[in-house]
């Protein structure tokens, strides 16, 4: 996909004015957010497991080279072909070559964000292959020529009505006046359409939520079962995944599984967790004849050595975006790249560069909800702040913002000056508001006051109130 992260502000404005999108997004708080809260309440150990999850992933990252090498050894011993892709383009070429070697015409594909990251579908299609996404949400965005707007609910931005319209446009082999009154009827239609593809497919591509070093396995976590039909009915199974997905043992994966579905959809576990090891065995009546695993780096090995290492703990649950007020207002497409929401605000500058993605870390109120729900405790706001610093150092932001930040920095580093300046500002603004306690218009802050009132400061500063309280004088405000 072509990134549009640099146009975040324009994208966001359009998203806010899109009534269909706003209706689709309005389901988030009562849906995924409420379900996660309920699932967490059902497991009293959840917070301890988050701490353990953070530590386990940190251990994997600190020993990534060893576990990757061990994974390759074990996978190869079980009949897998392991491929290494340093870049997105390497990954595309490797997978195209495997498909061509297998004389493939039809490729089915389970959900994979790494495949979105490397632009796999477009590359295979340009070489004449037909690629069909089999996850229902991915299928919806594929037939609409869109990209996923959420990492686990790709078609979150679509309403039921839009899906119905799209199915009528797309499935022209079916009666035009057939009834499609509800999601159940649409799912049944998609199920029938997809069956044909599974059976005819030459190659099935899936992602992997985890690789397991000890056993040489890849793991997918799904609810629909599409990833299983994709990998078990095609002649060749290709797994595309990235280096930070490797875990030491099945036991390590078991621990993380307790966090993943609860954080993602609020289920205790997804209906299917499939641990795949090698191609079909000699006596097996089903399964692929060949099993390839493509391990993608695409900048991660370098990110590991930076102050952003923590982001590589991510297990792609989507909780940070579900709980983000900015994501909830503008949806995923506004972010303009594969990974939206808070995790995208940290990953995108690493993948596209600060200049192309500089707006994203600024699109945050720093409310901290993302860090509070992250199952592996990634300090997302801290990492966004680090990107803001880098953007500033590299000359980003407009002239006015830069001067204002520089002025703020000058004052904030001089406590006496700061106290005097804030005291005057508080008094002045308080007087200016004329006792109303808020401004409906304030020159220099119209970006705010156009949409809502700006609270005016009380007449004294926080430091004054604090000092009074320390002296035992009760504050009178």
């Amino acid at each position: 996909m072509t990134p549009t992260s640099a146009e975040f502000k324009t994208n966001a404005r359009a998203a806010l004015a899109d009534p269909q999108l706003q209706r689709a997004l309005s389901g988030l708080p009562g849906g995924l957010v409420a379900q996660r809260t309920a699932a967490k309440a059902g497991l009293p150990e959840f917070e301890d497991l988050r701490t353990a999850g953070r530590d386990v992933k940190n251990h994997m990252l600190a020993n990534l080279d060893i576990y990757l090498a061990r994974y390759e050894e074990q996978a190869t011993a079980n009949g897998a072909h392991v491929h290494w892709a340093e870049t997105a383009s390497d990954a595309r070429e490797i997978i195209l070559a495997i498909c061509q070697q297998a004389n493939a015409k039809l490729v089915t594909k389970g959900k994979s964000m790494v495949s979105e990251e490397v632009g796999l579908n477009a590359h295979l299609e340009a070489a004449g292959l037909k690629v069909v996404e089999t996850d229902l949400g991915e299928y919806l965005v594929q037939i609409r020529n869109e990209h996923p707007s959420h990492i686990i609910v790709p078609a979150l931005h679509l309403t039921e009505g839009q899906v119905e319209d799209e199915f009528r446009r797309q499935h022209t082999h079916l009666a035009a006046d057939r009834p499609l009154p509800d999601p159940a009827s649409m799912v049944a239609e998609a199920r029938a359409v997809m069956r044909e593809n599974y059976i005819k497919a030459d190659v099935g591509i899936t992602g992997a939520n985890f690789l397991i070093a000890e056993t040489g396995s890849s793991v997918i976590v799904t609810n629909e079962g599409n990833g299983d039909l994709t990998q078990s009915l095609a002649r060749v199974h290709i797994v595309i995944t990235s280096i930070e997905k490797v875990m030491a043992t099945l036991e390590d994966v078991a621990g993380i599984l307790r966090l993943l579905a609860r954080s993602a959809t609020g289920q205790d576990i997804t209906n299917y967790v499939t641990i795949s090891t090698g191609p079909k065995r000699a006596a097996d009546p089903d399964g692929p004849e060949a099993y390839h695993v493509v391990i993608v780096d695409n900048g991660r090995s370098e990110l590991l050595g930076t102050e952003f290492r923590d982001v590589l703990r991510c297990i792609r649950c989507g909780a940070c975006m579900n709980h983000c007020p900015v994501y909830g207002a503008v949806g995923g497409h506004a972010y303009g790249w594969v990974y939206p929401g808070p995790i995208g605000a940290v990953l995108t500058p690493a993948q596209l560069g600060v200049k192309a993605a500089g707006h994203l870390p600024n699109a945050s109120t720093f409310c901290g909800a993302c860090a509070a729900v992250c199952p592996v405790k990634i300090p997302l706001p801290d990492l966004m702040r680090k990107w803001r610093q880098r953007e500033f150092i590299q000359g980003g932001q407009g002239f006015v913002a830069r001067r204002a930040l520089a002025a703020w920095g000058f004052v904030a580093r001089r406590p006496r000056l700061y106290h005097v300046a804030t005291r005057f500002a508080a008094l002045g603004l308080s007087a200016l508001s004329g006792g109303r306690g808020a401004f409906s218009y304030l020159p220099g802050a119209t970006g705010w006051t156009r949409h809502r009132d700006l609270a005016a400061p009380q007449s004294r500063t926080f430091q004054q109130l604090w000092a009074e309280q320390q002296r035992g004088i009760a504050p009178d405000v």
Partner: protein, 228 residues
């Protein structure tokens, strides 16, 4: 197709080591990771995995039932064919079951289920009902563990609309880790099947308008025959 590219691997692993500030021949790191893969430490076990067998059983049934699966309790293996026939009659499904070559299933007293047709082999697109035998289960989330192979071909678990699974109550564990130990004990030492499938309910999706619908691509119905 080119052979797996060891040069690319070496460059990626070298970059990883550079970023970590470590060297390849660091014996302490090697020992530490080898120990983890040998001793397989577990993360803290939730209290719900450490209950009495009766509580675990109730928890297992509760999770599956809430997850839109059916659990049918059968006193002994001999009662499974009749249980299957009764379930298919009651739910108005065809009396034709696809199954693999698992001797625990083929050796059942099928004569007790007159009129029930059995076909052997992997699932075909026209099959409506399939039968598998689970290796083990975890009660913490009502999760069955199945292994692919000629005994229980993996397509049985995903292609037909109805999936029937036999589980011996003796291999019902509390947590995933214990269930995986039981599952691996049933396989040749150190080996893995092509797929180990953890199944906790019938196929579902919430991709249209956020509403949950059962039977997305895999089975719409899952019935577990809990034996003993």
């Amino acid at each position: 197709m080119s052979e797996p590219n060891t040069a690319a691997r070496d460059r990626i692993l070298a970059k990883v080591r550079r970023s970590l500030g470590v060297s390849e021949g660091d014996g302490a790191r090697q020992a530490n990771t080898t120990q983890r893969m040998t001793t397989k430490p577990r993360q803290p076990s939730p209290a719900r995995t450490l209950l009495s067998p009766a509580e675990l059983r109730a928890q297992f049934i509760g999770h599956l039932t809430r997850g839109h699966a059916r659990v049918i309790e059968v006193a002994d293996l001999g009662g499974v064919p009749e249980g299957i026939a009764a379930y298919l009659r009651e739910t108005n499904k065809p009396a034709r079951v696809r199954m693999g070559s698992d001797p625990r299933l083929t050796g059942l007293p099928w004569e007790r289920a007159a009129g029930l047709e059995r076909v052997s082999g992997r699932a075909e697109p026209a099959d409506e009902v399939a039968l598998s035998h689970a290796l083990a289960a975890a009660s913490e989330t009502g999760t069955l563990i199945l292994a692919s192979g000629p005994d229980n071909p993996v397509t049985l678990s995903f292609l037909p609309e109805t999936h029937l699974v036999v589980l011996n109550a003796a291999v019902l564990a509390g947590g995933y880790e214990d269930a995986l130990v039981l599952a691996r004990a049933a396989m040749p030492a150190g080996s893995m099947p092509r797929t180990l499938n953890l199944i906790s309910g019938p196929s579902r999706t919430s991709d249209i308008g956020g509403k949950t619908v059962m039977g997305a691509h895999g089975p719409r119905y899952l019935a577990v025959f809990l034996v003993g």
